[in-house]
C-alpha cells in the first residue's frame, strides 16, 4: 500500500469523520495515521487533493424561463482536477464501444459540472455526495496505487469501483461511497443517453413528425410480440 498517508489524509470539515471512518474500514491507511484524527479535535481543513470547487451561486432559471431558447444561467464550479477525475470515472462507467463513444467524448463531465453547480435542493445534495466522492476516489487511488485515478490503469480503476459499485457486495463501512457511485452513475448514464450519440445507441427513433395516421408497431416489432405472446400462451389482440 502507498506510503505518505500523513499528508494524503486530506479531509475538510465537510467530509469529516465519516469519511475517515470509511477509509479506515478499507484499511489501506495506517491506523496510527487515522487515529489521531478520530479524537475530539478536528484538525484545520487542509487543501484537498482536487482543490475546492467554487461556491455555487443562487442564479435560477426561474418560474417563467424561455422554453424555446433554453440557457443554463448559473456558472460551473468544479476544479480542473475534479473534472479530470470525473471524466475518467464517466468513461469507466460508459466506455467507448463499437456502437457509441465514451461519455467524456460527448460532454458528460461538463454536464456533471452543470448539475453539481445548480442552485436547486436535489443538485445541492448531489454536489456534496459527488465532490466528496471524487476526492475519496482520488485519495484511494493515490494510497493504493500511488497514482491519480485518472492515470491509473483500467484494472486498478475497476478494483476501486468494485468496492462500491455493487451495493449487495460492497465493502462494509462504505455506504457513503456506494451512494456516491449510484448518484454518479445516474448522472453519467442520464447525461450520456440524452446526447445524440446515446439516443441513437439505445434506439430511440421518435421526435419526428408523421404525416397521416400513426402506423403503430413495425412488422418486425409485431412479429416479436407475437412470439412473446406465444410463449405466454396468449393471443395477439384482434
Amino acid at each position: 500500500m502507498s506510503s505518505g498517508s500523513d499528508n494524503r489524509i486530506r479531509v475538510d470539515r465537510r467530509t469529516t469523520i465519516k469519511w475517515l471512518a470509511a477509509t479506515m474500514a478499507v484499511a489501506h491507511t495506517g491506523c496510527a495515521t487515522t487515529e489521531k484524527y478520530l479524537g475530539d479535535e478536528i484538525p484545520p481543513a487542509p487543501d484537498k487533493l482536487l482543490g475546492s470547487a467554487g461556491a455555487p451561486g443562487n442564479v435560477r432559471y426561474g418560474t417563467d424561463a424561455d422554453l424555446v431558447n433554453p440557457v443554463v444561467p448559473w456558472s460551473r464550479t468544479m476544479t480542473e482536477a475534479q473534472l479530470r477525475i470525473a471524466s475518467s470515472l464517466c468513461d469507466v462507467i460508459v466506455p467507448e464501444d463499437g456502437r457509441s463513444p465514451a461519455a467524456s467524448a460527448v460532454g458528460v463531465p461538463d454536464f456533471i459540472d452543470e448539475w453539481v453547480s445548480a442552485p436547486y435542493p436535489q443538485q445541492r445534495s448531489d454536489r456534496e455526495i459527488i465532490l466528496a466522492g471524487l476526492e475519496w476516489l482520488e485519495q484511494q487511488s493515490q494510497d493504493r496505487f500511488g497514482s491519480s485515478f485518472a492515470a491509473a490503469g483500467v484494472p486498478q480503476q475497476a478494483q476501486l469501483l468494485d468496492d462500491i459499485a455493487y451495493p449487495a457486495d460492497a465493502v462494509p463501512g462504505l455506504a457513503e461511497q456506494v451512494e456516491f457511485f449510484e448518484r454518479f452513475r445516474y448522472l453519467t448514464v442520464g447525461a450520456f443517453y440524452t446526447t445524440e450519440a446515446g439516443t441513437n445507441d439505445i434506439g430511440y427513433i421518435g421526435n419526428v413528425a408523421i404525416k397521416g395516421e400513426y402506423p403503430g408497431p413495425s412488422d418486425e416489432a409485431l412479429a416479436h410480440l407475437a412470439g412473446v405472446l406465444e410463449q405466454l400462451g396468449l393471443s395477439l389482440p384482434a
Binding site: T63, P70, P95, Y120, P121, R185, G203, N207, A221, L234
Partner: protein, 563 residues
Amino acid sequence: MQEQYDAVVVGSGAGGAMAAWVLASKGLRVLMLEAGRHYDPYRETPMFAVNRDAPLRGTGTPDKEFGYYDATVDGGWEVPGEPYASAPGSEFMWWRSRMLGGRTNHWARNSFRMGPYDFKPRSRDGLGVDWPIEYEDLAPWYDRTETVVGVYGRNDGLENHPDSSPGVLHKPPAPRVGELLIQAACNELKIPCIPARRAVLTRPIDNRSACFYATGCGRGCAIGAAFQTTTSLIPMALATGKLTIVTDAMVYEVRLNDEGKAEGVGYVDKITGKHEAAFGRSVVLAASAGETARILLNSKSESFPDGAANSSGQVGRNLMDTVGAAMGAQFPLLENRPTYNEDGAMGMHMYIPFWLYKEQARGELDFARGYHYEFGADGRAEPGMGIAHIAGFAGGYGRKLKEDMRRYYGSFLDFVCRGEMIPNAGSRCEIDPDSKDRWGIPTLRFHFKWSDHELNMVRHFQKATKEIIERLGGKLQSGDVSPEQAISKGGQIIHEVGTTRMGDDSATSVTNQYGQTWDVRNLFVADGGVFASKAHKNPTLTIMALAWRSSDYLAEQLGKRSL
C-alpha cells in the same frame, strides 16, 4: 363611468374559456380576467426541443416541477408569493398555473364521459350526494363539447361508459407493443382494455392540425392538435369581437350591490399593484375549485358574513381529488425487442375502464366506486434523466452496462390507478386566519383525508395489477407497499373539485344545476367546484360540458333580463 359587460368571466382555463366562447358567440359582451400573464402557444411552445438542450436535461426543479419544458408559467405546487397551507394532520398539494389558458396548456388530455351511475351515486350506494342532473341531461353537451374540442376514442357500449353520438369521436391511434401486451392479458382475464379517449385531434378541425405523433403534449401544442384553450376556445371567442381579455388580474372578491346581486369583481392589477374593479350584468367564476372557493369565502358582507353565496355553509366543503396509485414492472420477454417509433400520440392509446359494476352492485367489493387504469406503455420514449434508472436496475458499469441499457430499454411498463373519491367531512378548504398572499389577499388552508373506500380501492388495484403483471411474466419493480403508502396525496392528481357543489337543495349545495348560485342569482360557477361527486373519469371534459350548458342557460336568462 366603468364599462359594463354582459358577463365578467374569472379564469381562462377549461371552464372560463368555454363560458367566454359560448357567451361571446351569442353576441354577449364578455370580459375575461386571468390571474396569470398572456401566453402565446404558437410562439412559446418548445416543439421538438430535446432534453439535452434544456438545463439539467429538462429535469424537474422547484422552478419547474414537471420539467423545464412543461407548459406551466409561474406555477406548480408552489407559486411565489401566493402561499397555501395544509391543516395539521392533512397534506394537500395544490397545482396552480399563472398563464392564459391555465392548466389546459399542459394537461394529459384524458377525456372520459361520466356515465349514468356517476351522476346518481347516492341512489346507487347511499354515499355522498346525487347530482341535480342525470347523464341524459348533459349528453347533448358532451357531444357538442367533444365536437369542438376534438377527442379520439371508440364507442364500445360498455356499462356506465357512454358512447358518443356517431361521427363525434376521432379515430384512435393504433396501440403500441406494451398496450397490445397488456390487452392480451386482459382479454384472458376478462378485463376490458379499449382505446383511450384523449382530447387530441386525429383529423384537422378548422386551423388546428391533426396530431403528427411527436413532441410531448405537456409542453403545449403549437399545431393545436392537443386541445388547450389558447389555441381553440380563446381565439374562437376573440374572433367574435365580443371578448376582452385582461391578464395579470388577480381577482379576490365578488362585489355585491345593495340588492344582493353581483355587480362585478375586485382584482389586483399585478403589474401596477393597484386595486381595480370590473363590472358586469353577471359574474362567472371559473378560477378553479380552490381559487373560486377562495374568492367566495373572501367576499364577506353584511348579508354574507361567511362569504358570498355561502348561506349553506358548503363553500369550500366536499373537496375531492382523484385517487391515485401506480405500480411498475419489468418484463423479461420485452428485452431486446425491435425498435420502432413508439412516441404515438404522446399519451395513452389504450386504457382499462372500470369493469366491476355488477360485482359492486352485488356487494362483492369492499369499496363503493370505480377506478380506471392508465398506462405508461411508451417504453421507448425519448430518453430523459430518468433513463438512468435502467442502470440502477441492471447494476454495474462499463461495456456490460451499455449492453444492458439496450437490452432493458423498453422493457418496463407502468400501471396507474385513477379512482373515485367519495366526499367526506374531513376534506375541505377554508380561509387561513394567519396568512395572506403578496397582495394582502387571505389564502387557503386545506384539510384532507381518504376513507376506507379509497384505500380498499387501491388494495384492489394492487391485487389486480399483480395478476396482470404475473400473467405476463413481469417482475414488480414498485415494491410491496400498503395502500396507505401507495395512495396519492390529496390534490396530487390535480383533479380537485367539489368546493361549490351543485344540487337540488339550497341548504346543502352552493349552486343549482346550471352553476347558478342559490344566493346570488347573477353569480355563476363554471369550474370543477360544481361537481357533486368525483367520478374516476378525469374531470376536464365534464367541466367544459357543464360550463357550456350553464352558459347557454345564463345567456337565455340575460336575454330575458331575468337576472
